[in-house]
């Protein structure tokens, strides 16, 4: 993102600033009403997923890995989506999957942003050797394809949830680092940062009060995109049997476990895969809308 783009995004934000009387809440409601259909659809999807994740235990009478009947039962009134390869209720597993799969992807993305965001901002503010060293480390990490690197590290450290979260977060933080560094770089050279430096403000003040507010819009959009990416990567690993381990309900491994059903013309195993796709589409729609509003970042790429 160039300096000019940051400027236009700041200007457009200024231009759109509502008269001071309306509250933040009204403003948000107005924006929402003006949002395109695709963004509304995306928001609806995200809200319903969060709802399923939070209230999973209340929405279903069965336990996450409770065996409730025969193996591979058909769809009926009791088990709306049938049962899986071990006789567990499919719908229950789907609901709990929202909690596990989405939750872990969300935590991982947060950790990635914490690592990548902080080090990116530091690299831009401090410059010099810190910048050189961090940037070269990131260059090397990005030279190895992410999935392959994850596979290698999982072989070494074994597959457990904390290991998975840390590995994916570190690998993904490289992308966050690049973005955070690039956008902070444009802010660091401005006069207000210079004057803060001359005032003798601390590193923490400069990064949190001066730089961070100005790099927020691209970072928020990137958060959505990175979440999609992390979510797909973890699902992919689970599908390969190397991500979340049984008996945890997880969409990727549910597809893998029940894939044989597809050869009998049953679409049940496609549901968890569809659930993954739907959420990613939803988040992408919302990010697209957000990017469109804050700047022309997407088209400029």
């Amino acid at each position: 993102m160039s300096e000019a783009e940051i400027k236009t995004s700041l200007e457009s934000a200024d231009a759109k600033a509502p008269p001071p009387k309306t509250s933040k809440w009204d403003e948000a409601k107005l924006e929402l009403r003006k949002a395109p259909l695709s963004a509304k659809f995306g928001l609806l999807v995200i809200v319903s997923y969060v709802f399923a994740a939070v209230f999973a235990p209340l929405l279903t009478p069965y336990g996450e890995s409770e065996i409730v009947g025969e193996v591979f039962m058909e769809w009926d009134e009791v088990h709306i989506l049938g049962t899986d390869n071990l006789g567990r209720d499919m719908l229950t597993r789907l609901l709990y999957g929202a909690r596990n799969t989405v939750g872990i992807a969300f935590i991982t993305t947060c950790v990635a942003f914490l690592i990548g965001g902080i080090s990116g901002m530091l690299a831009a503010i401090l410059g010099g050797w810190t910048d050189q060293i961090l940037s070269r480390i990131v260059d090397v990490l990005m030279a190895i394809p992410q999935l392959i690197f994850a596979l290698l590290l999982l072989t070494i450290f074994g597959t457990s949830i904390p290991v998975l979260i840390i590995i994916i977060a570190v690998l993904d933080s490289t992308r966050v680092f690049r973005l955070a560094r690039a956008v902070s770089h444009n802010v660091v050279v401005t006069d207000f940062v210079e004057s803060a430096r001359l005032r003798g403000e601390s590193m923490g003040w400069i990064s949190i009060r001066e730089v961070l507010p100005n790099i927020m819009p691209p970072l928020v959009a990137e958060f959505g995109l990175r979440f999609c990416f992390v979510f797909l990567l973890i699902s992919g690993l689970s599908f390969l049997g190397l991500g979340l381990q049984p008996p945890t309900a997880d969409w990727g491994s549910m597809v893998r476990d029940n894939a044989t059903l597809i050869t009998y013309g049953d679409i049940t195993p496609l549901l968890p895969a569809g659930a993954i796709a739907l959420l990613t589409v939803g988040v992408n729609f919302v990010v697209d809308w957000f990017l469109h509003k804050t700047s022309g970042l997407r088209d400029g790429q």
């Binding site: 090397v140 392959i148 450290f157 790429q301």
Partner: protein, 318 residues
């Protein structure tokens, strides 16, 4: 010309350094194991003697740098060592699988590249039309679909319901080319669907970027047809970013094969690495990672060099 050669040489040298560092990371990653490889393989209850014997067999008793150099030189001569799981030569395991994987990636590329270029150029020509918007939504969705979802949908439609294609892509060394193309068509289409969206979007963006420049306006004012303006005037300048995107996506294809190979039980390198991760067969995973990473780095390097070589500004210096 001299300038271009210099830049290319610089990139090549940099690529070589990156390759070396990556090989170092892949090799040293194992050293991060709590204990060492022998302990990890034999478990807690192994006696001291067996551990020592095993270490000697794996040459773990030698210092790290000796082992790294030995590993690297052996690999350069095509010797990847032996698998821990079945004690077979790794080069033998990799041999035909590498060919299969490259074949699949190449097959997917021959479908994906012309398709996405055409779609991208069309989207740029008819910008903001319904066609453009439809493509925008379709591409946004297709990057959101996990590979295995696309693969199983294809299997469900074409193998189960219509019965046109086999759902397993079993190929062996003596499969004739025609049959090989037929059984690997579905994996290739899956991969195509995964990468087309990105390539198309970038082609569109690269051309639209150029359409705003004054010389294109001039061509329009001269009264040239829209197709001529885009193909003759805009495309040559957009070539560098487009080639870049194509090669980056080829690099992505090489990695994307992993999941697709597992779905279609296609005997390639991706399946080997997944199997070996499950068995924690570290030497095989190291060998496969190195091959994947090297291919990826070489393709990215090619993208870099091609975009230097095709840059009209560098080719015709003032």
């Amino acid at each position: 010309m001299q300038k271009i050669l210099n830049m290319v040489a610089q990139r090549l040298a940099l690529g070589l350094v990156v390759l070396l560092v990556v090989s170092l990371i892949i090799f040293l990653g194992v050293e991060l194991l709590p204990g060492d490889l022998a302990q990890a393989m034999l478990g807690q209850q192994a006696t001291e003697e067996t551990l020592i014997a095993f270490r000697k067999e794996l040459r773990l008793d030698l210092p790290m740098h000796t082992r790294y150099l030995e590993w690297l030189f052996n690999i350069l001569q095509g010797d990847f060592g032996r698998s821990l799981a079945n004690n077979r030569e790794i080069s033998e395991l990799i041999g035909s699988r590498l060919g299969n994987t490259l074949f699949l990636a190449l097959f997917a590329a021959t479908i994906a590249v012309p398709l996405s270029l055409t779609l991208g150029i069309l989207a740029a020509m008819y910008r903001n039309s319904y066609y453009d918007r439809a493509i925008n939504i379709v591409t946004l969705s297709s990057i959101s679909f996990p590979e295995f979802f696309i693969a199983y949908i294809l299997i469900f439609i074409f193998s189960i319901n219509l019965g046109w294609m086999p759902s397993l892509s079993n190929v062996s060394a003596d499969t004739p080319l025609g049959e090989r193309l037929f059984v690997s068509l579905m994996p290739a289409i899956t991969l195509t669907l995964v990468v087309v969206a990105h390539m198309m979007r970038m082609t569109r963006a690269a051309i639209i970027n150029l359409l705003a420049s004054p010389y294109i306006e001039m061509a329009n004012l001269k009264g040239l047809s829209r197709a001529r303006v885009i193909l003759k005037h805009a495309l040559p300048n957009a070539l560098a970013p487009i080639i870049n995107v194509i090669v980056i996506n080829l690099a992505y294809l090489i990695v994307g094969v992993v999941i697709v190979e597992v779905v279609f039980v296609y005997p390639g390198l991706g399946q080997l690495i997944v199997d070996s991760v499950q068995k924690r067969d570290i030497p095989v995973v190291q060998a496969c990672s190195l091959i994947f990473a090297a291919t990826y780095i070489l393709l990215n390097l090619t993208a870099d060099i091609l975009s230097i070589v095709t840059n009209p500004r560098l080719l015709h210096p003032k």
